[in-house]
Amino acid sequence: MGLFRIFDIAGSAMSAQSVRLNTTASNLANANTVASSAETAYRSRQPVFQTVMDNSAGMDPASAGVRVAGVVETTAPPAKVHDPGNPLADEEGYVYMSNVNPVDELVNMISASRSYQNSVEVLSTSKELLLRTLSLGQ
């Protein structure tokens, strides 16, 4: 029954978007984290989305939603700030800021929340149709 598959599809989208919201929250929370070396500085994390292709359902190449293929750390170099008073400063007095760009993160957050809302809308539409189908002939 296709309408039940829509639940899976919309559910996968909602879980993927919530992973995205999760990374955004983590990035924003760590926007001002400092570290004592460039290697250990916090790097912004971004999920990579991938379509799940499902050929098993007997349908011709029908996909079944989306999944998070992985979470990658961005490669932008962390900013080096001279702050000798910081307990984490290295011997030259530098601390390394995270490479999070708050503007990017906020845009990501809005996009993720809109996509999430879209999926909820799809879910409620198909739920309504399913319920109406169930009450057919009464």
Partner: protein, 137 residues
Amino acid sequence: MAIDINQQFDLHSRVLGLANQRLELLADNVANADTPNYKARDIDFRAAMANASQPGGLGGDLPMAATRPGHIQAGGAGPNTTNPLYRVPDQPSLDGNTVDSQKENAAIAETSVRYQATLTFLSSRIRGLRDAITGGR
């Protein structure tokens, strides 16, 4: 006059099947609205319907030619499936994704109205048959 119940419901069930399939594709598109290189898909409802309403029409599938008696007749997909087509994007995006959320939502609304209309038709058909059986009591 004999009433063939299958015939009474056949067209409507085909519409429901097609609407179902289309909703599934559209849900897929919405789910992959942020997936890089995803290409949005949709089915041409009118063409699919024209195909499906032909008697024994295998909804869009080319039948395999059997030119010799020994050839196995490969069954196509079911009568309610049709081949999805890729959508031509109005505004292509840099990441290769061709999903247009507005279009998807509009198409979902349209398909859902079609589906509900068909359910209404089916309901009244069922009511009519029931009236015919019970004599309107």
